[in-house]
Amino acid sequence: MTRKLTPDASCSIGGVKMADQGAADPGNNNNNKAEASEGTIIKVTVKTPKDKEEIAIAEDASVTQFKEEISRRFKAKQDQLVLIFAGKILKDGDSLSQHGIKDGLTVHLVIKTAHKAGEGASPTASSSTSTQAGTSSTSSPGTEPSPTAGSTGSAPPPTQTPNILTGFGDLSSLSGLGMGSANFMELQQQMQRQLMSNPEMLSQIMENPLVQNMMSNPDLMRQMIMANPQMQQLMERNPEISHMLNNPELMRQTMELARNPAMMQEMMRNQDRALSNLESIPGGYNALRRMYTDIQEPMFSAAREQFGSNPFSALGGNSESGVQPSRTENREPLPNPWGPPNSSNPPESGGSTTGSTSTTGGTNPSVSNPLGINPGSLGNGMFNSPGMQSLLQQISDNPQLMQNMLSAPYMRSMMQSLSQNPELASQVLMNNPLFAGNPQLQDQFRAQLPVFLQQMQNPEALSVMTNPRAMQALMQIQQGLQTLQTEAPGLMPSLMPGGIPGMPTGGIPGMPTGGIPGMPTGGIPGMPTGGIPGIPTGAGMPTENPASSPSSAGTNTAQQQLMQQMLQMFAGGGGGGAGGGATVHAYTGITSFTPA
């Protein structure tokens, strides 16, 4: 018997309740103990995990009645039904209105079945949850990342994530463990992993002659792996690994595996099975855990570092920004990228400041000038926009950010493809708000694009970008220029001929955006001023020569105008980035960018 404890909203009459047997509720065709009232029929959506149906029921019906209707519709027994609404379980004794179930609302339904795959019975459920914590790390080899990206069909048979490191013999199945930190690298690792698990894509990659070449050379592979300092450390600590690497048979087998995804998956499955058997042995779990922490983790961080833009670089995880140490080791003492005459600016550790780039036009990147910056070709325009300023600052503050981003192999391959496809690159760039308002800049930039993209490819360039001190130096330069501009505006135009060598802008191809290579700057030619001797610290890039800007002799009026604009941008940039100062914003298009 349903009892209404709360007044039924729909029953606006003073509660005349007649124990009517359903006559008043045309829609309610169950036997009922419905309290009569207007008995409006409401349509309630009943949603199961797999299905959903709309059920018409009387507004004032009881839960029991509702369940009867549902059991008919879903072909289930009433006592298997569990109805949930707003987090509450609807009990038979309740009424729908009690819970506030109205027309158009959704009620959740769970159908308890004893023989559901693994569930239905509480013991299984609770035991699985309780063992989760304990086995989470070791059972991940047992987890099924189903390959996807639309490759396999529905309900794929359990497959392993083919992790490229599978080559490493017994440790391959450990690849399922500890896949690294969640950041963009994780994302792209996932992506790569998906790539790998999609046999079609994988075979496409395999068909790439470059890859094949590499894979068919076990020595090369071994060298690559061993060249990584982290790997070396790892090998010292775990001699088994070096044995493994030195075993040509194993390497060959590995490469065969890599070539043949199906075989790889098969092997991984075997490995996983073996491993999980191991787990059941007393003490086995600990062994596995040890194996993981001692071997796999460092190895994967090492391997990931190693493989740079190799498509197989999706090697397990780097748990943190272990990127940093290896980068630091690999990097040469940071040269002063806008090297030239101003060698009084050693921005970084071990900074050997370096040879100035005396060549003009497209300078080749060299150790001393990793960015290949042609001093003459550097412009600073965009670079000094408020946006850039703030970005720079953020980057300086958070070196990890840059490193993370730039070290992402995905980033590199993207830049590569962008450099091969200047159309795409310019498209991407032009859409960028920073460029939006300034067609001149766009043109300039487009001209610079190839050079700029080249620069981005250079790992040295990248590593410079990740150095916080470099960033800071750049900012100093900018600020210096801004100061100069405000202090001695007359100075600038007269220095026009020749660009400012090594203006920060040029110095940071594609800066911060990382993802959008070609962020402002790649050396906008004819930029304000060349020889400004005595530019305050960090700046000081006296001109190389007047003709250094690739695009012109630097003295025509158009250029001058452009430079004026640029100068104004400095001032504007100073306002935005440093907070305060001139507020000239030459490019309205930039206003959308605010320091994040």
Partner: protein
Amino acid sequence: MDKNTTRYNVQLYIYDLSRGMARSLSPIMLGKQLDGIWHTAIVAYGDEFFFGGEGISSCSPGGTMLGPPDTVVELGETEVSEEIFMDYLSSLGESTYRGDRYRLFEHNCNTFTNEVAQFLTGHSIPSYITDLPSEVLSTPFGQILRPILDSIHIAPPGGNVINGGRNL
């Protein structure tokens, strides 16, 4: 009404997959401000549940490689018992939330979390999370990246797949 039903607290754990990079770089890359790339999970009954490329997974709260959550939102309480919930998850995991149904933009961890939140508490998750894919796709850069992103499956390791095929 019986008030003696046990109630379980339900929380939403929000993680920023980009570790702050989105907040800084999104204006440049996308042209609009995105405060994070959000991954969410439901925490209830002492466990964390989330949907990833592997299907529905669970672990101890904060136990994935993502570490502790950036934000925790209290979704409220539920009367649903753990047993019923696991039933529910199993059904979901066999149907709409199988591993291969993962789609980074349209059917991702946040879709799952939203659905589970509604199931458990009747509340949805904050809209800034569920709006993220459309925000990204509405930018030119997002459109360009779309084919690549579509193949990404986010599956923070450290979890145990529920209703998973093989428990050896």
